[in-house]
Amino acid sequence: MNILRNMEQQPGAFEGMDPFLEDVAEQIQYKPVRDEIKSELAAHIEDRKAEYAGQGLEYDKAWEKALEDMGDAVEIGVRLNEAHRLQRNQTVVALVMALASIGIIGNIRLMLVENLGIWFSGLFYFLCGITIFAIMYYNGYQRLVKNIKKINIIILAVLGVYLGLFFVQRQLYSVFSFRLTSMSIVFALELLSIPAVLGMAYLNRNKRYRPFLLVTALTAAIVSIAAWLTGSYTLVSHLVLIIAVYAALLYMIVKGMLAGKPGRQVGWWILSLGTVAAVFVLSFPGNWKYELEQCFYPEKIVSDYWDDAYNSILIKDLLGKAVPVGTVPLSREERMGYYTDAWYFDDLDEFHYEYKMQFKDENNIMLEDILPQHYQNNYRITYWILKYGWLPAVVLLGIILAAYGMLVRMVSKVKNKMGKILAFSCVLTLILQTVFYFMGNMGYQFGWFCNFPFISEGFCSIITNMILVGLACSAYRYDRVVKEGKKGYMVSST
């Protein structure tokens, strides 16, 4: 657009400049920035030409000399391309695909070995997730930056509508069924709100208290509505939201991204975190004592073989028997004890014992029969250790750690502050989920609902986490071509 404005001011000038500017532009691979660069160079050439003309040179000579002063168009273009090229990060993309492949292979194994046909739908979500990752990778960062306010409003609006429906539904039907259906939506919105909330904070970074007020208001609203809707079912996502948002906000303070004195900002940060934590604790409909005991002292609250406290006790006991390589060695009696739960519950009634044994031959009890229900989702790491041994599990965990290590390295390389904070928050969200999942798999389960990003629970989790990782990779990809405006908002070159 600017180049056209310049043309109007200097009739005929543009024609002469055109081949030079085109030669420069052709070297720049990212086409959306070409016009802006051409415009800047055109203004320079015209200024120089005007000076020469003012010194008495003829129009054509002035023009020629101004172009000559600029130097070699190709060299300039090549060097400008260095500053404006899209950054490729194939290693990170390959590692994310490797993680998804671990999840897909797990699903295929379930279909083939355990004949669970239902896991076809899981594969479908993996394919959707990979497609969404590609879309986010190519468009996510720029779209988020441009529409960040709208995204926050949509997240709050959807949660608000769900809250309304929740109250109406509670009057009409059972709360439980509604909670199950809304779990996925709440989980996804909570995690996706993390970069959106931090993006809003960054856009208001020069307005002293506003970033803290915005983060407090948005996080408190989202987490309290989510807690009301799903309670302890998505306790981990509530916690991930709070931890990720406040860790990233602290990161912004430490890196000097917010205006004002750091000491005062830390004070605001503590006040904001305290407010959100208080709102969350008060709005949480579950029992905190129960949640903490389930995580750290499951034996205190275990009541029957169906609850998660028992699962933690069971897997801790089994992990203690795992070997470096190979399936955990268990005697026939041990298998019987674990399968019927009689190893832990001394007062197990006869009905339960007979009920369980009617499905199994006591000589043919497998590891999969012993493990908690839904082990294929909730205890994937535990299963690797017990089925293949510690060493193969460590290798798989090594791949996962390498992927996260590469993601962290990628974030550290992002120079654009907005991109850095968004990528940081997305990667932190993935890491926190993995930490909670790992804790659960070692027998320290917090809350009810836990996911292993890219690997387990291939429904809502895979899509949400692919959006997050796609956004982080996208921030790195467009790091050199998306810029910040002087007024504090983002100006995309597209």
Binding site: Q9, S39, E40, H44, A73, I76, G485, K486
Partner: protein, 122 residues
């Protein structure tokens, strides 16, 4: 001068000029030429990759502004990070300059600078 060294010193000089006030590319070139008595008379197009790299690093911010003639120009504004970078570059340059002077001027240079003369080894 070595190209890389030239770029480092030019980026330092550009930051110094922007420390005074916001400027556009052509203005920077003119100012650079005038103050260096045409020593820094580089091919003008090569200024922009340096400016754009500084912008990428967050040392300067670009914004568009219409000039009195109505022509739209891209101005550059030095950021806090740019000021910090300038201070670092100045320090590096001082170290470099001293080292070169020591080698070229030897002990005589040190003696002469100690007594306040600007002469090189005389």
């Amino acid at each position: 001068m070595d190209k890389k060294l030239m770029n480092i010193s030019i980026s330092m000089l550009l930051l110094r000029l922007l420390e005074e006030q916001d400027r556009y590319g052509y203005e920077l070139i003119k100012e650079l030429e005038a103050r260096s008595e045409n020593v820094f008379s580089l091919k003008e197009g090569t200024l922009y990759p340096i400016l754009h790299t500084l912008e990428l690093e967050g040392a300067v911010e670009g914004y568009e502004k219409a000039a009195e003639t109505g022509r739209t120009r891209k101005y550059y504004h030095i950021t806090k990070k740019g000021l910090k970078l300038l201070a670092e570059k100045k320090k590096e340059w001082d170290t470099y300059q001293k080292a070169v002077n020591h080698v070229i001027g030897g002990m005589e240079y040190e003696y002469s600078t100690e007594y306040g003369t600007a002469a090189w080894g005389f």
